[in-house]
């Protein structure tokens, strides 16, 4: 993995939100990650763990409080609005809800063409031709491209959104729960399409999802977040075979498997997610961890990689 070219490197990203009064919500607190070219990095965690905030921060849709983001060696922090806008040709985003991410007053063709218009790529005819090709690639017929979003179902809309994200030939797409709003049978269509795009066009994904079985299906590597911290990062197979962090273990064992014969040994997780406004001292997971020691309550564990690139933030591993 390490010999592949690094596409995006995020170092010590912090994103704090100002809450009421003196409260500060530490949505993302010191997270570092690298993304290689053509790689799919899955990002999982429960709601409120900061995974979406991290995704948006990487594209500078949210301004990070601290940290640097290197894209092909160039730091994105400090770029002017204009420069950033040009960079965004290379980095796109797919949102969770396909119903609210398309302009209802634009036809499919117009929506997909918008990035080309904005970045002034090609002549009018070339743009049209390119859009038509792209829509065909994601599975639309010629006669459908002048229709409006309301005429399409959720799965079709999500494919339009994917076409729009792809049209400016990006190297990197942040997918924030792209299939969570879709039904099972339609979800498979979209997942297969996304996988094909990754294989055929070499687009790297940051694939954010709370659904571990979906993440497993698409990802090369997986990062697990808990309360604004990254707790574990490993190659997909390795993570599922050998989860090291107690949180990852609990998370993996909570997933119901669609087979009545498979009985899972549950590692039950007690209690609820603490408030990110007032996260626990030391290791943030210690309030729910059954292995927690005195050290965990006081000292925050460092995120360390072993020789195989399996990283974990836990005193006991």
């Amino acid at each position: 993995m390490s010999d592949e070219k690094v596409l995006l490197q995020a170092n010590h990203i912090k994103k704090y939100f100002q809450g009421q009064g003196r409260n500060v919500v530490k949505a993302v607190d010191d997270v570092s990650l690298t993304l290689h070219q053509g790689e799919t990095l899955g990002l999982v965690g429960e709601s409120g763990c900061g995974k979406s905030t991290l995704g948006r921060t990487l594209l500078r849709l949210l301004e990070p409080t601290e940290g640097e983001i290197l894209y092909n060696g160039q730091n994105l922090i400090g770029l002017s609005r204009k420069e950033m806008r040009l960079m965004r040709q290379n980095m796109q985003m797919i949102f969770q809800n396909p119903y609210s991410s398309l302009n209802p007053r634009m036809t499919v063709l117009e929506s997909v063409r918008a990035p080309l218009d904005i970045f002034k790529i090609g002549t009018k005819e070339e743009r049209f031709e390119k859009c038509r090709e792209m829509l065909k690639y994601v599975g639309f017929e010629e006669y459908q491209i002048y229709r409006y979003p309301h005429e399409f179902s959720g799965g079709q809309r999500q494919r339009i959104v994917i076409a729009r994200a792809l049209i400016s030939s990006p190297n990197f797409i942040v997918c924030d729960e792209p299939v969570s709003a879709l039904d099972v049978s339609v979800r498979a269509q979209v997942l297969n399409l996304m996988r094909d795009i990754n294989k055929q066009r070499g687009v790297a994904y940051l694939f954010i999802s709370h659904d571990l079985s979906v993440v497993k299906h698409v990802s090369d590597r997986i990062a697990v977040m808990y309360l604004g911290n990254m707790v574990e990062l490993a190659e997909c197979e390795e993570l599922y075979r050998n989860p090291k962090h107690p949180y990852t273990q609990a998370l993996l064992s909570s997933i119901p498997i669609p087979d009545p014969d498979v009985k899972v040994d549950r590692v039950p997780l007690e209690g609820d997610l603490p408030s990110p406004m007032n996260p626990p001292e030391g290791c943030r997971f210690h309030t729910r961890c059954k292995y927690a020691t005195e050290r965990c309550r006081k000292e925050r564990p460092e995120f360390k990689f072993d020789a195989n690139g399996h990283g974990v933030a836990c005193h006991l591993c």
């Binding site: 429960e46 709601s47 179902s153 799965g155 079709q156 039904d183 099972v184 049978s185 339609v186 979800r187 498979a188 269509q189 997942l191 297969n192 996988r195 709370h210 571990l212 079985s213 979906v214 497993k216 299906h217 197979e237 599922y240 609990a250 998370l251 993996l252 064992s253 909570s254 997933i255 119901p256 498997i257 669609p258 087979d259 009545p260 014969d261 498979v262 899972v264 549950r266 039950p268 997780l269 209690g271 609820d272 997610l273």
Partner: protein
């Protein structure tokens, strides 16, 4: 006690009148529920699974739906459909309770947990307020809420999603209902919390021997919970059987496709099976089988005539022409 039939639904049809025509949301669904049984109802959005549960509670009229004549819903041998709203109010919560999908919006935000629970308990039992309050506390303990005394005095916004769902479950069970309808009880929750809630439901089923209708779109959830499963598609029950039958020997092409399109945690597959196309628009009358346009095992007869429900060996029921030959009999229509 084992085999008492608690709920018998027969040819339930519920329709909505819309601008574009009549929409048959539930189109002839029949099933029985025995005490202590968990029936899993699976299907995609729009297949009519929620409308079905609302119809059983006779709440669907509030949403503009109508249950067609000829349908029958028997709760412990008593026909529910003809009952007045007043009688229904006594039944709901006492005999048959419901847990809805979104825990955060199912509780009234301006009243404390205690107020809401006591109101319900007093409505259905002879208890005084004080007794009811103690009873509420008992149930909060039972569903595993930490510091129940404190939580009782709190407002819903002070509780997390998982906690709210526990309160709702406690509330639903506090009057010992015979039948519990859980409509996507864990969809809005995180996986670790989902696991807690499912464990809780399983435990309660064993404790109070209530029958549960578990409505969900998650195949993983039903596999670990249900005894029997009904698969719905476009308002029809396309396949019914035991959990083992449905997962190990699915008959209907839709069930097969549904199972194949779920990414598996315990297996590595390269490409997921995708059922082509989309769910049909129900306001347009569909000739023949509803699943025909997305089915890859279509035969000539599928386009002409809607398949009846065939009863196969082992009690599995399937609504598909492919099984006409091996079927023992036709169970309806």
């Amino acid at each position: 006690m084992e085999d008492t039939v608690l709920l018998k639904v027969d040819h339930l049809r519920t329709f909505f009148k819309t601008k574009t025509g009549v929409l048959p949301a539930v189109n002839g669904v029949s099933f029985t529920l025995k005490s202590g049984e968990i029936l899993g109802v699976v299907g995609e959005s729009g297949c009519g699974k929620s409308v079905m549960s609302m119809s059983i509670l006779k709440l669907i009229e509030k949403y503009g739906g109508k249950v067609q004549e000829g349908s029958s819903i028997e709760l412990q041998g008593r026909q529910v459909l003809g009952l007045s709203e007043k009688v229904m109010c006594n039944l709901r919560g006492k005999e048959i309770a419901m847990i809805s999908q979104d825990p955060m919006t199912s509780l009234n935000p301006v009243f404390t947990v205690e107020y809401q629970m006591v109101e319900m308990i007093c409505r259905h039992t002879e208890m005084t307020k004080k007794e009811a309050s103690a009873h509420a506390l008992f149930w909060l303990k039972k569903v595993g809420i930490p510091e129940p005394e404190k939580r009782l005095k709190e407002y819903p916004h002070q509780l997390s999603g998982g906690m709210c769902q526990r309160v709702i479950i406690a509330m639903a069970l506090s009057c010992d209902p015979k039948v519990l309808i859980a409509d996507e009880p864990t969809t809005a929750l995180d996986v670790t919390v989902q696991a807690q809630i499912l464990d809780l439901l399983r435990k309660l089923r064993d404790d109070v021997n209530a029958a549960i209708i578990l409505v969900t779109h998650d195949m993983g959830v039903v596999a670990s919970m249900a005894d029997n499963i009904m698969v719905m598609y476009a308002g029809r029950a396309v396949e019914c059987g035991t959990t083992h039958q449905i997962f190990k020997a699915p008959k209907h092409p839709y069930t097969q496709g549904l199972l194949a399109s779920v990414p598996r945690m315990d297996k590595q597959e390269d490409k997921l099976y995708a059922i082509p196309g989309n769910v049909p628009n129900l306001t347009q009358k569909i000739e023949g089988c509803v699943f025909r346009e997305r089915c890859d095992q279509c035969v000539g007869k599928c386009a002409k005539e809607a398949p009846p429900q065939f009863l196969l060996d082992g009690g599995q029921k399937v609504r598909c022409w492919l099984y006409e030959q091996e079927a023992k009999e036709i169970c309806d229509e």
